[in-house]
Subunit: 199 residues, 2 copies
């Protein structure tokens, strides 16, 4: 018999999520979480740098998936299409009932607490930075890669938001593609050009 129950990290994550839903994020202390997972507060902080981080273990996997998709994309695909395809593909993992429930619960938590939103935003910024790396590795020039990554992130955010707030989320990939199409339409549309631009 093992000396300790296995998967301390997983137990902490589950305990945290359960408690956050049961009694709210703020009213749940790290001590509560640790107790529910049969561990001590100190151990919690060995696994997670801070209280918020317990909700973000997935971001590393997401980043890896997206980078893999970027690396594997056809070489002649324009950067924006590469990114949209990568996001769409990475999103297919969240389409079963279980996952959707989790993602929505988590989404609700994050949008309700500025704390968590901050962490989410910096994770996405990290993802953007990683994306720049992935694109430059494909030979995209650095400034272009930076811009493309920003636009890709906008597409991802909007696609996700529309997907998450639709009554019964499905077809994540479709939402992402639609967001990209909208982006192209908006960016491409120089004015109904009533008068010529100077120069």
């Amino acid at each position: 018999m093992a000396r300790w129950e296995p998967d301390a990290r997983g137990r902490l994550e589950k305990a945290a999520m359960d408690l956050f839903i049961e009694q709210g994020y703020e009213r749940t202390t790290v001590g509560d979480i640790a107790a529910r997972a049969d561990l001590t507060e100190r151990t919690f902080f060995r696994y997670f740098a801070d209280k918020r981080e317990v909700l973000f273990s997935g971001s590393k996997d997401l980043e890896k998936m997206i980078l893999d998709h970027i690396a594997a994309a056809p070489r002649d695909l324009p950067a924006l299409d590469v990114l949209a395809a990568a996001y769409a593909a990475a999103g297919t993992g969240i389409e079963d009932r279980r996952a959707i429930e989790y993602v929505r619960a988590r989404y609700a938590l994050v949008t309700r607490h500025a704390d968590l939103q901050e962490r989410e935003l910096i994770k996405l910024a990290g993802l953007t930075a990683a994306t720049v790396g992935g694109l430059t590795a494909r030979g995209v020039a650095a400034p272009t890669a930076a811009l493309a990554a920003e636009l890709g992130m906008a597409v991802f955010k909007l696609g996700f938001e529309r997907w998450a707030t639709s009554r019964t989320p499905r077809d994540f990939a479709g939402h992402v593609r639609a967001a990209l199409a909208d982006l192209r339409a908006l960016a491409a549309a120089p004015p109904p050009s009533r008068r010529p631009r100077r120069a």
Copy 2:
């Protein structure tokens, strides 16, 4: 004679900035800041919700300036141009020596500390949300406004970054306009279209 030295908030902001630069953000406690401003820790927390917030008093002004510019823009200007112009105009306030020094010092601090970066990101997200409001007030449809605001923010970020990292920052507006042009070029470029897209 007044009962207290005037401008407690301003004194706290200056003390904080000075100490952060002198001895680093993390090694400076709220107590240190308050002491340097001849106030108590408790008073600090009456002016600022938390330690980070002391660096972000400017974000409200920035938001107001940008919203004003959006509201005042010619009615037939496309959303993206409205935003780029608003950012460019709002940025003209930071072009004198004093301001540049402050902005750069602050930028260095923020990029070096994840804590502060998180706060910065959520402030920008708030600015994005406000921008959506400003656009819809002009009659832009909500989904378009959301997308335009995201793209506008990308332009602002990139423009600012390029401006801030240039050896001697000048012509903020030019950087913003250039970022927008780059965005249009990148988004407009559907592939060198070797093969037709399906459908």
